[in-house]
């Protein structure tokens, strides 16, 4: 080859990448539906469904009342009966109201029917802190990772938001797709041709030799900023974006930790029984014990008070300090 062929990219915002994936899948498959609060002509609370209502109309895009329990249940039922609903839950905190249908019914349907029925549904929900207070800021993805039958993904870039949503809408069981309030207005390159990203494949965002830093979602930006800060001190971090939390790509993480010899996990949720704890346990089952630390929110609710919110949530200087500490071990 005289020159390397690169895919042609288009620049777009994270929210536009979500819209594009949903639009393409709704066009391709008439069984794809959207249910949720303010998803119709309003276009979604973060405009992530902008313009879709005009194309697909009220039959396939249904505004629901404030009734998360029934909405998730109706989605599970319509999925079991042959459709592919996307349910929008405005804040991940509110998904707790829909846990019965999601966890007790949808996640177990294939198992209890011996493969006879399944619930191919996507719960798209928004995690994370952005000044909205104790019941609108939580990251509870670690709770969901432990549910057999549930897949959980959390993109951090527009390209992944696009590619993972495509896969989610074609999956044969329930998927929780977690985006983050702070990611919607972020731009990035997305392939112009239709592509999808398989679940269970982490991505190495930055190569390094001294330490492996693993994160997902919005905290990936914090991780990359921290890696940049310590690079000035000559510290080389390998930064891994999990992208998919269930299934989890331990091959990529363990391979990296074998090379670097150290693991730092970073998440915006709680560290107790958290994503990082799970990643570390499963990594060290492969590699044997290595020096590691975990960073997450402090063990307190996330207030809308700007000082308290910032104090609770990890930031790049805090992560950089942890990197330096870990390198002394």
């Amino acid at each position: 080859m005289l020159y390397e062929q690169k895919p042609v990219m288009a620049r777009m915002f994270f929210r536009e990448a979500v819209t594009r994936a949903v639009r393409e899948e709704m066009t391709r498959d008439p069984h794809v539906l959207i249910l949720g609060q303010d998803v119709g002509s309003f276009g979604g609370s973060y405009r992530e469904f902008d313009g879709l209502y005009k194309i697909f109309g009220p039959e396939r895009i249904r505004d629901t009342p404030v009734a998360e329990a029934a909405t998730v249940g109706i989605a599970a039922g319509v999925a079991a009966a042959g459709y592919r609903p996307l349910v929008s839950i405005t804040y991940m905190d509110f998904l707790m109201l829909g846990f019965d249908a999601l966890i007790n019914y949808a996640a177990k349907l294939r198992y209890k029917t011996a493969g006879g029925l399944s619930a191919p549904m996507v719960v798209k929900t928004t995690a994370g802190a952005q000044g909205q207070g104790v019941a609108h800021s939580q990251c509870i993805e670690a709770w969901l990772m432990s549910v057999p039958g549930l897949r959980v993904v959390a993109p951090s870039t527009p390209a992944d938001a696009y590619g993972l949503m495509k896969t989610a809408l074609r999956s044969d069981g329930p998927v929780v797709y977690i985006d983050h309030k702070r990611l919607f207005p972020t731009p990035g390159d997305v392939p112009v041709t239709e592509t999808s990203i398989p679940f269970g494949q982490a991505c190495i965002r930055r190569e390094g030799t001294d330490l492996t830093l693993v994160s997902h979602g919005y905290m990936m930006r914090v991780a990359c900023d921290a890696a940049q800060i310590v690079a000035q001190d000559g510290i080389s971090c390998e930064v891994i974006d999990l992208r998919s939390l269930a299934p989890l790509d331990i091959d990529t993480v363990a391979g990296s930790v074998e090379r670097t010899g150290r693991l730092l996990t970073l998440e915006e949720g709680q560290t107790v029984c958290g994503v990082g704890t799970e990643v570390a346990t499963r990594t060290f089952e492969r590699t044997g014990p290595k020096p590691w630390m975990r960073i997450g929110a402090l063990p307190a609710p996330v207030s809308s008070n700007p000082v308290l919110e910032a104090a609770c949530i990890p930031d790049a200087p805090r992560v950089a300090d942890a990197i330096r500490t870990l390198l002394t071990r």
């Binding site: 029934a70 909405t71 109706i74 039922g77 079991a80 009966a81 019914y105 011996a114 493969g115 057999p148």
Partner: protein, 311 residues
């Protein structure tokens, strides 16, 4: 079916009662949710449904599944955890399903199947195939938020769904009057503008007639309907739950048994004599003995299958 066959209805109710009694007598049946006293609701309701309709229920699902036409031997095997069950023994009590015969399934979280049923009804509406969905639940589910949320959305979207409350008047030990503030449970449906009726759930022909009316209303696209059937529970909540009622109370309840009542009515009308009734009892015993023999002979799943069909 346009009219219920009165003799066939008796046969169906006897089969359900015999099935449950046989299951309860077997040692190591696991704990089971029996529906003795509620057979008229299951049989009357099922008589109003067509092949393209789907029935969903709460956990107390043996009678409704049999009335809907799931093969008794497959139900028995399923309840005993055997591979010959309709779900290969994985679903068991409270979770079995057989959509091919119109039994979309049970879900044993009280109230949990109501929103699922509305979703199945939404699929029927989108498909435009004329099929309707029936969700059967107990009075215990009437305090659950999921019911109220679902009724609102079903009414708003005119979903083809019939809500049927089998009001056996007890939620484990809590009486319906102690738990629910509304006068009639069908008033809950009326709040959302539904067709509603409260009827005697011990009269199989009355249930059949009301169900027929309700099904027609829903099938005509007029929106959801709510039918409350007042029944009784002749057994304790489950085969392992403590009975909270006195022997005298239970004996009094037995005088209201819907099967005895229907048999008496048929005999009074000259449609059935003692010999025929005895023959029907024997036929039911034979059929259920065969179902039990099939279930006993069916193997348990291999332990290695525990990780199959998870995702």
């Amino acid at each position: 079916m346009t009219h219920i066959d009165p003799v066939g209805a008796l046969r169906a109710m006897l089969m359900i009662r015999t099935f449950e009694d046989t299951l309860a007598r077997r040692k190591e049946h696991g704990f089971q949710l029996l529906s003795s006293g509620e057979e008229a609701v299951a049989v009357g309701l099922a008589s109003a449904l067509g092949a393209g309709d789907q029935l969903l229920t709460g956990g107390r699902s043996i009678g409704p599944a049999l009335a809907r036409g799931v093969a008794p031997e497959r139900v028995m095997a399923e309840l005993l955890g055997k591979s010959g069950g309709m779900n290969q023994g994985r679903a068991g009590r409270g979770h079995m399903s057989d959509p091919e015969v119109g039994f979309f399934g049970a879900h044993a979280v009280v109230g949990g199947n109501i929103s699922i049923a509305a979703g199945v009804a939404m699929a029927r509406q989108l498909d435009g195939d004329g099929g309707i969905v029936v969700i059967l639940f107990g009075d215990g589910a009437c305090g659950a938020g999921a019911l109220h949320e679902t009724m609102n959305m079903a009414a708003q979207w005119k979903l083809p769904i019939l809500f049927v409350c089998n009001n056996n008047q007890l939620s484990v030990s809590t009486t319906r009057d102690a738990a629910l503030a509304v006068a009639n449970l069908s008033d809950l449906g009326a709040t959302f503008g539904m067709w509603t009726r409260t009827i005697d759930g011990l009269d199989v022909q009355g249930v059949a007639a009301a169900a027929r009316d309700a099904v027609r209303y829903v099938r005509d696209g007029l929106g959801p309907a709510f039918l409350e059937c007042k029944s009784i529970r002749l057994r304790s909540h489950s085969t392992t739950a403590r009975e909270t009622r006195s022997r005298a109370e239970l004996a009094e309840l037995q005088t209201h048994c819907p099967i005895r009542r229907h048999a008496d009515a048929l005999q009074a009308d000259g449609m059935l004599d003692d010999a025929q009734l005895e023959q029907m009892r024997q036929d039911a015993a034979t059929e259920i003995a065969q179902a039990m023999a099939y279930a006993e002979a069916s193997p348990y799943p291999a332990a290695q299958e525990v990780l199959r069909h998870v995702v």
